[in-house]
């Protein structure tokens, strides 16, 4: 555990810049946030269902996911998070966690005390609006996941998830040329889209066979973006990205 350098918070600024134009004053206020940097290994809970957190975390490196556990160990993955996200931001105003947050890969996190975050939002309405907007986009993503799980085929669900993750990474400058890191295992994908591992494996073979994408060694390569978005019925409007979508 160590104090984070101001450069860590530049990731939060970069994230907010995908939403708003950040002024110099706002930038300085963010860089003054007192944060504590921690490294966690893969598959470690960051915060658990029922916890009353006093801080929230900015993801600096690695991927994380929100989830709920059902009886008999069944797990539903609720969302996937990449560097620049604050996946437990809602704990700022909702005192009890109603789900858990875990690392997917080894992660570096910057923990920001709620009090400091509240001060920032009290004093900088532009930042408050950006965080609010980010929360609304989060809700839009949940609506899309609900549609995905409820009404799309397994192939539609997987391709939609890949399109979404690629565009989120691309917006943060973490992916380009239709290729990105993909640390989700087949089991993780199955738990995110509500099907069995067997069905995920079948669809990945089919997608590979059709030449749409390759998923190998934790790397996703999209060979035909237009065909993939067509198969997924993917309309990026729900991501509300400031820059025009597209790789």
């Amino acid at each position: 555990m160590s104090l984070a350098a101001g450069t860590d918070l530049s990731l939060l600024i970069r994230k907010l810049e995908t939403i708003i134009t950040v002024s110099d004053v706002e930038r300085q206020a963010i860089e003054r946030l007192p944060v504590t940097r921690r490294q966690l290994s893969a598959h470690q809970d960051i915060v658990r269902d029922g916890d009353h957190p006093k801080q929230c975390c900015l993801l600096l490196e690695g991927w994380a996911f929100r989830y709920k556990l059902l009886d008999e160990g069944k797990r539903q993955i609720l969302s996937v998070h990449i560097p620049g996200d604050i996946p437990d931001l809602q704990s700022l105003h909702l005192p009890v966690m109603d789900h858990s947050l875990s690392t997917l890969t080894a992660c570096t996190l910057a923990f920001i005390p709620h009090e400091a975050m509240l001060d920032l939002t009290r004093n900088h309405p532009g930042i408050t609006a950006a965080l609010w907007r980010d929360t609304l986009v989060d809700a839009a993503i949940f609506r899309e996941w609900m549609t995905n799980i409820g009404r799309r085929s397994t192939l539609g669900r997987i391709t939609h998830l890949f399109c979404e993750i690629y565009l989120k990474l691309h917006a943060m400058g973490l992916a380009r040329d239709f290729a990105c890191e993909m640390p989700l295992t087949q089991g993780d994908i199955a738990d995110a889209i509500g099907v069995s591992n067997v069905h995920v494996n079948r669809v990945l073979q089919e997608l590979r066979g059709q030449g749409l994408l390759t998923l190998q060694g934790q790397r996703l390569v999209i060979h035909d973006w237009d065909a993939l978005t067509n198969r997924a019925e993917f309309d990026p409007a729900y991501l509300h990205q400031k820059r025009p979508p597209g790789p």
Partner: protein, 82 residues
């Protein structure tokens, strides 16, 4: 409860094709399918492709062999649905 099997080929649009209809006293209760070589370490295992009634949930992991699959179906079918 007595289970009986009836071999069947299934169109899954994948290399998994060899299946078994599982009947319990004349009623179709489940469809099992043997996983192909495309499934790596689980190749040859039996997957519950479809379970009817209370065999629909929870979805079990693929079974090592048909004996294990039928034992699970017998236990599960004997329980009231929750």
């Amino acid at each position: 409860m007595t289970l009986s099997l009836q071999p069947v080929r299934i169109r899954t649009e994948s290399s998994d094709e060899e299946g078994q209809l599982v009947m319990a006293e004349g009623l179709l209760v489940a469809i099992l399918i043997q996983l192909s070589a495309d499934h790596g370490a689980e190749a040859g295992h039996w997957f519950l492709e479809v379970g009817f009634g209370n065999l629909g949930y929870p979805r079990p992991a693929p079974f090592l062999d048909l004996t294990d699959a039928l034992a699970w179906i017998t236990t599960q079918a004997g329980q009231r649905s929750s």
